[in-house]
Amino acid sequence: MARMLLLLLSASMLSFFLITASPMNAVDAFLNEVNVSEEQRARIEAEWDLNKPPVERYVLWAGKVLQGDLGQSITYSRPVSQVLNERFKASLLLMGTAWVLSGVLGLALGILGAVYKNSLLDRIIRTLSLVLASTPTFWVGLVMLVLFAVELRWFPLGLAIPIGRVASEATLTERLHHLALPALTLSIAGVANIALHTRQKLVDVMESEYVLFARARGEKLGQIVMRHGLRNIALPAVTLQCASVSELFGGSVLAERVFSYPGLGNTAVEAGLHADAPLLMGIAMFSVLFVFAGNLAANVIYGIVDPKIKEGGDNYA
């Protein structure tokens, strides 16, 4: 646990120093072509602590963050925490849907492939997974857009709600309608990975002697998968699913960009392109926390799923 917190701290430092090392100038971005005197400029720099050494700035920044103050976004002219809060809700919906989708679909396809090993179905699943696992998310999104939004017109071209509508007025069906394509796009890489891993693990289990014995005892295929298969592949599946959170965050940046979905990822890109250092820092910090939460969840779930680890006490972190 202490080790994980230390990691969190150093990851925040890493992001902070990378952003401070950047030659992009936050004051220029803020002033945006407005001419000011050197004096005023210096005052803004002093206001934002820009003239202090990086280490001191980090300490000041971290102190403020602990009090809940993430600073002011330059592009949105609003507190960063407000922007984050709003964008995160949209992103959470997208990432959550994709996460569940990839877990369930991946597991199901992996089990199907392993149970009917070397059948036509298995070969299709395996080939498709292998190709999709290394297909760029944004291209999948583009192809989806071409197919389902432009040619078939089943789904809208982008955004989270219909154009010209306020967020509070959008109905649930409208939101889901807009969510479907991005969520599917985002889940595809995960589905492929999880299906491949599940299949591999389950194939090993199905070739074991205890499964052979279970067959001899007259257990049905479904029973074997439930009793012997799923229990044995649960742990690696949990690890994989929780570790995929990091990939998911990266993928969401690309998917949101393709579908102009107003989430965190899209905001991160905008913040980076417009030199909005406070906002970018907030998002980076947030993504680090997000990955941290994923790893933590994996550790907690281990304890629940695997009694052996639970007995070992809490020294597994």
């Binding site: 992001s15 990378l18 297909t135 760029p136 291209w139 071409v146 965050f249 690309l254 392109l273 970018l280």
Partner: protein, 284 residues
């Protein structure tokens, strides 16, 4: 002796080993062709041609043309060549970092080992794409930012692999025996560890290419890095987004498919090399 048993039987010329070698050869040839061909390509081929704008794919323009009449096929080849160049450079740097950190961590153990593990965890603690954006910004954007970003973020997995390999060999019986018989550390490193780890490293390096290429395309797609008129995959695809609604599907479909095909080729060559190098599967 199996050779004797099979001597009288006619065996197919294209046995498994030959097939694997053939695939590796053809794959590398194709990749080298794209790589070198793209560099030597006459920029005129994918330059604007206003008499052939917005053309759907046809025999003259296999991938169609865009709003400036640029031939998408040649533009994609040039883009892939650039991607492979960036991929090669950054995969080489990343794998070198992995080789140094991985073997240091396995050889020295103790504090060094935990420090390296800590670095690996740290690098994996920030989502990859966010880290790429941060590094690209820290370097002030441009091609330099992209290459640096991709180069210094792809080492963690390979580091772990190399560390595990070196540790395994170090504790192997024949290495311990060799040490007991008074062989120097240098002798053990050169005669026992390097021959075993190098193939793993080479395969790991090749399997890094597709990752590096895809991340390069991804970060360029987001608008970081390379200037907009460069024929890079990310820029081609990001431009194509504007013309999707107009029904110009070929602008995004074909270049992307070419990119996927290229990364698949790298994967294929890497996987088959692994089969060939791995003593467990090489004789099958």
């Amino acid at each position: 002796m199996p050779e004797v048993v099979h001597a009288g039987l006619s065996r197919p010329w294209l046995n498994r080993r030959r097939r694997i070698l053939l695939v590796i050869g053809l794959g590398s040839l194709l990749l080298a062709g794209i790589f070198i061909g793209g560099m030597l390509l006459d920029p005129e081929l994918y330059g604007p041609n206003y008499s052939a704008r917005r053309m759907a794919p046809c025999p003259d323009h296999l991938f169609g043309t865009d709003y400036l009449g640029r031939d998408m096929f040649w533009r994609s080849i040039a883009g892939l060549s650039l991607s492979i160049r960036i991929g090669l450079l950054s995969a080489a740097i990343s794998s070198l970092i992995a080789l140094i950190l991985g073997s240091m961590s396995a050889i020295f153990g103790g504090k060094v080992d935990s420090a390296v593990n800590y670095l690996v965890d740290l690098c994996m603690g920030v989502p990859h794409l966010i880290l790429l954006i941060l590094i690209s910004i820290a370097m002030g954007g441009g091609a330099r930012g992209v290459v640096t970003g991709v180069a210094v973020t792809h080492w963690p997995n390979l580091t772990r692999l190399i560390r595990a390999e070196v540790m395994q060999i170090r504790s192997a019986h024949y290495v311990q025996l060799s040490r007991k018989m008074g062989k120097s550390s240098l002798y053990i490193a050169v005669r026992h560890i390097v021959p075993h780890v190098f193939p793993q490293y080479a395969v790991g390096l090749i399997l890094l290419f597709p990752h590096a290429i895809l991340h390069e395309a991804g970060i360029t797609f987001l608008g970081y890095g390379l200037p907009l008129d460069t024929p890079a995959m990310g820029i081609i695809l990001s431009e194509s987004m504007k013309y999707l609604a107009a029904g110009m599907w070929w602008l995004s479909f074909f270049p992307g498919a070419a990119l996927v095909l290229t990364t698949q080729l790298f994967d294929l060559v890497g996987d088959y090399l692994k089969i060939l190098i791995d003593p467990h599967s090489a004789r099958e």
